[in-house]
């Protein structure tokens, strides 16, 4: 028989749309409009999980996101999601959920033995118990604890769905769509403001849906529907259902998670599962409502003990009567509503237990002035024990206990920027303290428990927010509502309770744990939290924090404000990592930048490497080559013997113009550019203001007032920012303009003894680049391939005669193909960044490994470049004693004494005979390469007093990878030391 606990009529579920679902493999039926929790209760299923530590049977405590107990694994396979709250899962046809944290089954959980062991599992037990022997931690204790504890299981496979991020802007953000939120949205919307109304639930209305009340002439839920229709008709109002605002940030920024398709088994094609929103709002109205507090007494976690207002939700919204015989236990006037609603649903209410001496008798119902000391039962509630104010104890059989300890306003989002909450004695609750700029708090979130106040305050706040955005606004007229009474008298725990009285259900923290924390000195609220784990579970202590704090206050005989305040950090609700990543996962984790020859290189089978965001060809393997080194050795040899081409478009390129362009570059670089002749290139070295090397590159003079500057690939953006700083902040008087042209130009290095031969095949006027016409460091504008405007630089990084050909990026693909074609007869090959690196090590050129942010120009043997005739960035600080200390390690070369030895970058140099200690460290190897020309490994590095130690043998110690190699100190230029090959 299905839906035994469903009421015959009423509620906001659609009885015409039955939905089938499974829980732990058993098939059930619910209705459209149900949550999973409502549907389980409708089917009489009240045991839904086991507790975290003691594996106690747990049911459904609440009807919303505060739920600590009813956590389930939703869906199966790759879409399995652990720790989802049954109270917020919108039922869909075919939903499959499993209880979690039980073994082997929910009903017969063997780990429930933990409950018997509980004297040995007090707060902080793992700090004390699993300490010795230390070696047991990793192999024994941790795996054991992990199996026994923890919550649901992750799917373990890649998430097949996609997620998105998006930004929305508005004048007024309204958070929560209860009576206050709806009135706020309506008032702001009518004024013409751009309003976003976010509701975590799949249905608008908040408590309007849960209470059997009237607003104006209609039922509260019908009123909410009417307002929703009005809002939907306003073009500037955006209603976002299933959207939880999770964080408040500076400047009116909010983070919200929209569960776009979590209510479907599989998202429709092309649609995301969830979308993470950045909402930028000029004003906000926090109308997030409140969370009812549980009462703390023995056995308050038994399935069947529920929060009273949540019970009203199940009765009124979902048309479910979760029991037959109920007792109501409350310290406030809301209890009358609970009694009335339960009775209307046909639940026999045995008694109202109210600790307040002045509690008024509710009609014909039996009132017991007293407390519930214990809830009895195994997997389900069977009865309660009551202690009257007169000292008389009695038992009442029941299967339902509605408890209410008063309300905690949901002020989390008001507190994310740090404003401490303020204790309100009358309400016995924390209210929002200093608010984030532009935020107002209304409704229950602001401590208003009367419906009339919620409606009025909401409308006023909406109008005020719209006015603050420049609109003329008036609060919506407040519909008439019945007066309500909301007096509350705190009851933080029941003295004389029997059995475990839970403060934090999800983390199994009891009153005894809090007492222990107090005895052991963990009395500050922060210590209490960390020691007992109170409030640290996935529900973030929504139902636990205030009770725990109040209990500690009582134990330490302090007031609640003296004891501390609950503080909140984002996110208000858990956010899946997938949602945080959005589009940026897999190949889109971050953007990829492709140089102009990429498609060509890809087709050629190149192996790529990421350098910054760029994807560059690392080497081009040929069929039959056994490893990368074979390919790289071939590429190097072929360049040195014939010719090769490499895409160097990734270099940063900056167009610098203006009458003071030369003067500006003089201040930017440590060497001089104002004297550079038009049509010439020069290597430049740039320091940071602290005197250390920042970047290097070649800069050419295209005209008297125009330079073309290049930076390393890695530093392109950093150098541009630095130049803008130098210009705008330091020397605004200079007439200089700079702009990045990095992507405008495809740039190819053509290197090797036959490079000119190749180029002359594609240059329209071959004579113009003859050796005499275009010597080393010459720069020329010319045309190639029948009229394409291009620029040729005669510069070399490889030590060979070499050119860099620069042409509009649209022709990059054509150019590499043309170069390969033209070079075929000369044996041209494409080479990648590895071969480029090997050749620069062979030539002793510094690169990223040497420009590591710790080296000076002097360290790198480039001290002579530092002009003494001008001011430039880093000039003064480069002269500090520590940076010109002759003991500083200096750049030099290394070769292995035994030519078969492999060198390792990162190895440290130790003098022979000295012990390999940090004290005896004399520097380290920065770069190594296998030189195919020399037939052995070579290295570059920094060594103390290197210039005086040529020929000395030192130890290159590599303790990290193990091993030690004897190396001879040598000149860093291993190949063509006189530089004759450059000149062709």
């Amino acid at each position: 028989m299905s839906q035994t606990s469903r009421l015959a009529s009423g509620g906001l579920v659609d009885r015409g749309r039955p939905l089938s679902f499974t829980f732990d493999g058993a098939r059930y039926e619910g209705f459209a409009g149900d949550t999973l929790a409502a549907a389980l209760l409708a089917n009489g299923q009240r045991l839904v999980g086991r507790s975290f530590k003691y594996h106690r049977p747990r049911g459904i405590l609440s009807a919303g996101p505060e739920e600590p107990n009813a956590l389930v694994e939703l869906r199966a396979g790759a879409r399995r999601e652990p720790n989802t709250k049954a109270t917020t899962i919108e039922l869909y046809d075919g939903l499959a959920a499993d209880s979690q944290h039980r073994w082997p089954s929910l009903k017969g959980d063997l780990l429930a033995v933990n409950s018997l062991l509980s004297p040995f599992l007090p707060a902080g037990f793992y700090y004390k118990t699993f300490m010795w022997p230390a070696s047991f931690w990793e192999k024994v204790y941790e795996p054991m604890i992990r199996r026994a504890a923890g919550l649901g299981r992750a799917s373990g496979v890649s998430d097949p769905d996609h997620y998105e991020k998006a930004t929305a802007h508005c004048d007024v953000l309204v958070i929560g769509s209860g009576p206050a939120g709806l009135m706020a949205a309506l008032s702001a919307g009518r004024a013409g403001a751009r309003v976003i109304l976010c509701e975590e639930d799949f249905r608008l209305g908040g408590r309007c849906l849960a209470e059997d009340r009237r607003i104006g002439d209609s039922r509260a839920s019908a009123w909410a529907e009417t307002v929703e229709r009005q809002l939907a008709a306003m073009p500037e109002v955006r209603i976002m259902r299933r959207t939880a605002v999770c964080g408040t940030y500076d400047g009116g920024a909010y983070l919200a998670l929209e569960r776009v398709n979590d209510h479907l088994p599989v998202p429709p094609a092309h649609e995301p599962r969830q979308r993470l929103w950045h909402i930028i709002a000029r004003q906000s109205v926090l109308a997030a409502g409140g969370v009812e507090r549980p009462l703390v007494f023995g056995g308050n976690d038994k399935p069947g003990v529920m929060l009273a207002a949540s019970l009203r939700s199940y009765v009124n919204r979902f048309a479910v009567a979760p029991g037959q015989r109920a007792v109501v236990f409350a310290n406030n006037d809301d209890a009358r509503r609970t009694v009335a609603d339960l009775r209307k649903a046909g639940v026999a209410v045995e008694a109202l237990v109210d600790p307040r001496p002045d509690a008024a008798k509710p009609g014909d119902l039996r009132l017991i002035q007293g407390v519930v000391t214990s809830a009895k039962g195994g997997r389900s509630l069977e009865g309660v024990e009551i202690l009257g104010g007169d000292g008389k104890a009695e038992s009442i059989a029941c299967d339902l206990l509605a408890m209410s300890g008063g309300w905690n306003p949901s002020i989390q989002l008001s507190n994310h920027l740090g404003g401490a909450p303020v204790w309100d004695e009358t309400l016995a609750a924390f209210l929002a303290g200093p608010l984030p700029a532009g935020m107002q708090v209304v409704g229950t979130a602001a401590g208003s428990l009367s419906l009339a106040d919620c409606l009025r305050n909401g409308g006023e706040a909406g109008a005020k927010a719209a006015e603050a955005c420049g609109f003329t606004a008036a609060p919506e007229p407040v519909p008439s509502v019945e007066r309500d009474s909301n007096a509350v008298s705190p009851l933080w725990r029941v003295k004389g309770s029997r059995g475990k009285a839970f403060v934090d259900f999800q983390n199994d923290v009891t009153t005894k744990d809090v007492e222990l924390a107090e005895r052991e000195g963990y009395r500050s609220v922060e210590h209490l939290k960390r020691y007992t784990t109170l409030g640290m579970a996935t529900d973030q202590g929504r139902t636990a924090n205030v009770n725990g704090l109040a209990l500690m206050a009582e134990l330490t005989r302090r007031s609640i404000p003296e004891t501390g305040a609950t503080r909140f950090r984002p996110p208000y609700a858990p956010i899946a990592i997938g949602a945080l990543a959005g589009h940026h996962r897999g190949k889109d984790f971050r953007p990829t930048r492709l140089p102009p020859s990429h498609q060509w290189a890809e087709a050629r089978g190149a192996v790529f490497v990421e350098t910054g965001m760029w994807l560059r060809a690392q080497w081009y393997p040929l069929p039959g080559e056994k490893d990368w080194q074979t390919s790289v050795d071939r590429e190097v040899k072929q360049v040195r013997e014939a010719v090769g081409v490499c895409d160097v478009s990734t270099l940063g390129k900056i167009d610098v113009q203006g009458t003071d362009a030369g003067a500006f570059l003089d201040r930017l670089y440590c060497n001089t550019f104002s004297t550079l002749a038009v049509g010439k290139a020069r290597y430049g070295l740039m320091l940071r203001e602290d005197g250390l090397v920042m970047d290097d590159g070649t800069t050419s003079r295209l005209a008297q007032d125009r330079f073309f500057m290049t930076t390393t690939t890695a530093n392109a953006a950093k150098v541009m920012q630095h130049m803008e700083f130098c210009h705008q902040v330091l020397w605004p008087e200079l007439d200089v303009q700079m702009v990045s042209v990095s992507e405008q130009w495809a740039q190819f290095s053509i290197a090797g003894p036959r490079s000119r031969d190749v180029l002359q095949r594609i240059v329209d006027a071959p004579d113009a680049i003859a050796n005499d016409a275009m010597p080393y460091l010459g720069v020329k504008d010319l045309t190639v391939l029948g009229g394409i405007r291009a620029r040729l630089f005669r510069i070399s990084f490889s030590g060979e005669m070499a050119y860099e050909l620069s042409l509009p990026a649209r022709y990059g693909d054509a150019a590499i193909r043309a170069l390969m074609e033209a070079g075929r007869e000369f044996g041209i090959i494409p080479y990648g960044t590895e071969a480029l690196g090997v050749m620069r090590v062979e030539k002793g050129h510094v690169a990223g490994n040497e420009l590591n942010g710790q080296t000076t120009a002097g360290d790198l043997g480039l001290g002579r470049m530092m002009s003494s005739k001008k001011d430039y960035i880093g000039r003064v600080m480069a002269g500090r004693p520590g940076l010109v200390d002759p003991d500083r390690p200096r750049f030099t070369g290394f070769k292995p004494v035994n030519k078969a030895d492999r060198l390792r970058a990162g190895a440290h140099f130790i003098a022979q005979g000295a012990e390999a200690t940090a004290k005896n460290d004399q520097g380290f190897m920065t770069s190594v390469a296998h030189s195919p020309i020399l037939g052995h490994w070579i290295g570059l590095g920094l060594l103390a007093h290197a210039t005086e130690r040529m020929g000395e043998v030192v130890r290159a110690c590599d303790p990290l990878r193990g091993g030690e190699v004897l190396v001879e100190v040598c000149d860093p230029v291993f190949y063509d030391p006189k530089g004759e090959r450059l000149h062709g």
Binding site: D588, P591, L594, D655, Q657, D660, Q737, L785, G786, A814
Partner: protein, 201 residues
């Protein structure tokens, strides 16, 4: 001529006419890569703002915008690109380098001009869902009250630097991104548009 045959877009091969993503109903947006766009940076020289503006007025009949706006002149548009900076745009199918060659004499001594036609890929997105698609990557407010035809902004889209401007109230937007990022940006755009359906005409 040979030149035209050899040019290659960064989105070569991807830009095929047809309907993609959600197949039902009218497409949410149409996407297009604009071909034959000429671009150049124009940056005013120190103390020459007024003269540069006069030169633009004289040669192209346009006031150089001093706020983030797009101004249309004779055969050329100027998009504000920072204080004293513009991105000049021509839709005349100029050859590589030609826009700089045209502008340099106009602004000689008044502004520095640098060709950028090849440095950017320019895309157009138009249709009723254009704002929803762009909201998935652009942090700026494109609501008609905040961003109108003729407005432009330099910002970041899906972690990629971009300049956007609105063309009309359809709405139609055009975006320029660095050429090397074009493929990544295209992935973002098409993935974001898929739920509404997109079309290349």
């Amino acid at each position: 001529m040979a030149e035209a045959a050899a040019a290659r877009s960064a989105l070569e091969g991807l830009h095929r006419p047809g309907r993609h993503g959600k197949a039902e109903g009218a497409p949410g947006v149409t996407l297009a890569e604009l071909q034959g766009i000429g671009l150049a940076s124009v940056i005013v020289r120190k103390g020459k703002a007024a003269q540069a503006s006069e030169a633009a007025k004289r040669s192209f009949g346009v006031d150089l915008p001093e706020t983030p706006r797009r101004a249309e002149g004779k055969g050329i548009e100027f998009l504000w690109a920072g204080p004293g900076q513009w991105l000049a745009l021509s839709r005349d199918g100029l050859s590589a380098g030609e826009l700089e060659a045209r502008l340099a004499p106009v602004f000689a001594g008044l502004a520095s001009v640098a060709e950028q036609s090849d440095g950017r890929t320019v895309l157009r997105i138009a249709g009723p869902k254009a704002r929803d698609v762009l909201a998935k990557g652009l942090p700026i407010d494109l609501h008609p009250r905040a961003f109108r035809p003729g407005d432009t902004a330099l910002t970041v889209a899906a972690l990629i630097g971009a300049q956007i401007w609105q063309v009309d109230e359809v709405p139609t937007y055009e975006l320029a991104v660095f050429r090397g990022f074009a493929l990544s940006f295209w992935h973002f755009l098409t993935e974001s548009a898929a739920e509404y359906g997109w079309e290349i005409r």
